[in-house]
């Protein structure tokens, strides 16, 4: 079912364009991550969905309702703020049932709902605590419970993990995703952390410079980034300058390589970037002859961290990273002239 849709939305703050002509369409119940560096407009877009900012032009719809121009408090949304924004003058239970109290529900209804929500976020029995007595992780759970109190149509989270430490972040990413799937609620998360986006999202929207650069499932974006910015932002990528030598071949560092990925709109002679992911690139010992689809380079650094081994290779001035499992270890050392194999299936080309 078509759920949240954003049509031609632009937002200007004075002379600065924060969001430029964004068009997005999602299904109800999907988890969407707006991913991008700071200042790319992702938070502004989220705030416009919430109604905290009004678009300069364009429309935001949910299912068959037009939300544009509807005041924040009349939209059925739940939002978790970066700072959590819990009310310091109310206790945990009162924070969670705030929305119900505003709508005139009785005290006992409010208390029942608060208990139920606290169970849901795994904080049973904390309703009488003061906000100042909670840890960061507990605050986040209370903020989530508060936002979900009225079963909103859309659940919005602005950098929800930024106030948590690294370990807790990973736990909460999984927990939030499970909760979202359980409730089947359309959810939008703003983040600058690609791991977070990859962990939780059904759809990732990569943003940069006020525009949407690419939309797709995490794997689509990881496997086929549209440009070098997206490639660099999602995971680590090796980029080598190359020239198209045929419909599925490139000329790079004096050798010809076969490209398995889409070479669609490029034609012979075009300058392109050959992109590979570190885990799909293999390094072979200098004595190995006849390594297909490979370039040569000099090992500059070896980082062995047990589970994986990372080899940095200098290929004619461009760094290529290879991440190998111990079983593929080619037994090389810094300074060795090695063959860097880039299997055709691992190669794709991007515009320079």
């Amino acid at each position: 079912m078509p759920g949240l849709s954003i049509k031609n939305v632009t937002k200007n703050f004075g002379t600065v364009t924060a969001v430029k002509d964004v068009n997005l369409q999602f299904n109800t119940g999907e988890m969407i991550c707006f991913l991008g560096p700071s200042g790319c407009g992702k938070t502004t877009l989220l705030r416009m969905i919430a109604g905290l900012d009004d678009p300069t032009s364009g429309a935001i719809r949910f299912e068959d309702q037009d939300l544009t121009g509807v005041p924040v408090h009349q939209r059925n949304i739940g939002m978790v703020f970066q700072s959590f924004a819990l009310f310091p003058h109310l206790n945990v239970g009162e924070n969670i049932s705030y929305a119900m109290r505003i709508r005139g529900h009785s005290r006992s209804e409010c208390e029942d709902r608060a208990r139920q929500l606290l169970d849901m976020v795994h904080l049973p029995g904390l309703e009488d605590r003061k906000i100042s007595q909670l840890s960061g992780g507990q605050r986040q759970r209370v903020a989530i419970a508060r936002a979900l109190a009225l079963n909103p149509q859309v659940f919005l989270l602005d950098e929800p993990m930024s106030a948590l430490d690294a370990n807790l972040r990973e736990v909460m990413q999984i927990e939030l995703r499970k909760l979202q799937q359980e409730l089947g609620i359309t959810t939008v998360v703003v983040t600058h952390d690609q791991t977070e986006a990859m962990t939780m999202a059904d759809q990732i929207v990569v943003m940069g410079k006020a525009q949407v650069l690419q939309t797709g499932t995490p794997m689509e974006i990881y496997k086929t980034p549209v440009d070098k910015f997206v490639a660099g932002f999602i995971g680590t990528s090796n980029l080598l300058p190359a020239k198209m030598s045929g419909p599925d071949g490139v000329h790079v560092n004096g050798v010809d390589l076969t490209v398995g990925g889409n070479t669609g709109h490029f034609s012979q002679g075009d300058d392109v970037l050959l992109m590979t992911r570190p885990e799909e690139v293999f390094v072979h010992h200098p004595s190995d002859m006849n390594v297909a689809n490979s370039v040569t380079g000099t090992v500059t650094f070896v980082r062995d961290i047990g589970a994986t081994i990372e080899i940095l290779v200098d290929c004619a001035g461009h760094e290529v990273i290879s991440v190998l499992t111990p079983k593929d270890w080619p037994d090389v050392k810094v300074g060795d002239q090695v063959h860097v194999e880039m299997p055709a299936a691992a190669c794709s080309v991007l515009a320079v």
Binding site: V72, H73, F87, H89, L150
Partner: protein
């Protein structure tokens, strides 16, 4: 350990000397004066005489004390009612605009109570006052003097204290986390509802301390009630001045001053006691 404990107290010496010389000693002198006996030549002799406190315990002075407390409470409430919304809207303006307004309000504080009292007297007079504007626009037939009256006293005292209230409320309101307001809005509360369920409760400590400060400040006002009010609008402070300067009765003035001090201390104590519980 001993030297560090000693050095910790050394820093307190200058301020202790200041407070002792300018606050404690004068207060002890007032206490002593309040229990001394007046002499026929207008002076007073040291003794332990409670007659002045007994004199306070007549209905006239008790009524004056209650009136003073009531008037000051009213001024504190009115002053906050005007200053709070103003300050709240001010904190939503760009920082530059806020600075200009704060400078302007600070400048208002440099006006003396005397100047303000006489300006209001002119403003509310029959010949040059606002009543003439009402005549001009045809609301009333004939100009009249709006002073002396209780309304004039209240208006001038509120005018006098609003800048204080703004400056006392400003830090709390400008520090208020705007995301609390946004969170309330996303949870279904209208802007007005949010103002009363989030903004006011979160800044309650500032409202209370602002109210107490204005209360105490007004308790000490002596010019405005005299210039703009009838004798029945005079506060304890006015009576103290009256006793000290015009009746040459220092012991009784001192006794009234002690009563005033006890009164304001009681109010502060009650307010902090009852507001501290829930906060």
């Amino acid at each position: 350990m001993q030297t560090s404990a000693l050095s910790r107290y050394i820093g307190l010496i200058p301020s202790s000397v200041m407070i002792g010389a300018f606050f404690v000693i004068p207060f002890v002198l007032i206490l002593l004066t309040s229990v001394s006996t007046p002499t026929d030549d207008g002076g007073y002799a040291t003794s332990f005489d409670l007659q002045h406190f007994e004199r306070f315990l007549t209905w006239f002075y008790i009524e004056r004390a209650l009136f003073s407390a009531g008037l000051c409470a009213l001024i504190a409430v009115l002053s906050l009612l005007i200053a709070y919304p103003f300050t709240y809207f001010l904190t939503n303006f760009p920082p530059r605009t806020q600075t200009y307004w704060l400078i302007y309000i600070l400048a208002q504080l440099s006006l003396s109570e005397v100047l303000i009292a006489f300006s209001w007297q002119i403003l509310l007079s029959r010949t040059a006052g606002v009543a003439n504007i009402l005549v001009w626009i045809g609301v009333i037939e004939k100009s009249f003097a709006m002073t002396p009256s209780a309304g004039a006293v209240v208006a001038a005292l509120v005018y006098l204290t609003v800048p204080f209230s703004v400056l006392l409320l400003f830090p709390a309101l400008s520090r208020l986390d705007k995301s609390l307001i946004e969170a309330s809005r996303t949870l279904g509360a209208s802007p007005l509802r949010t103002f009363f369920t989030v903004v006011v409760p979160v800044t309650r400590p500032a409202i209370i301390s602002g109210g107490v400060t204005v209360f105490v400040l007004t308790l000490g006002a002596i010019i405005v009630p005299q210039v703009l009010g009838k004798p029945e609008h005079w506060t304890l402070s006015v009576l103290i001045t009256d006793q000290a300067i015009f009746n040459f009765n220092m012991p009784f003035a001192s006794a009234l001053a002690v009563v005033l001090l006890v009164l304001s201390a009681t109010v502060i104590w009650l307010v902090t006691k009852f507001s501290g519980k829930k906060a």
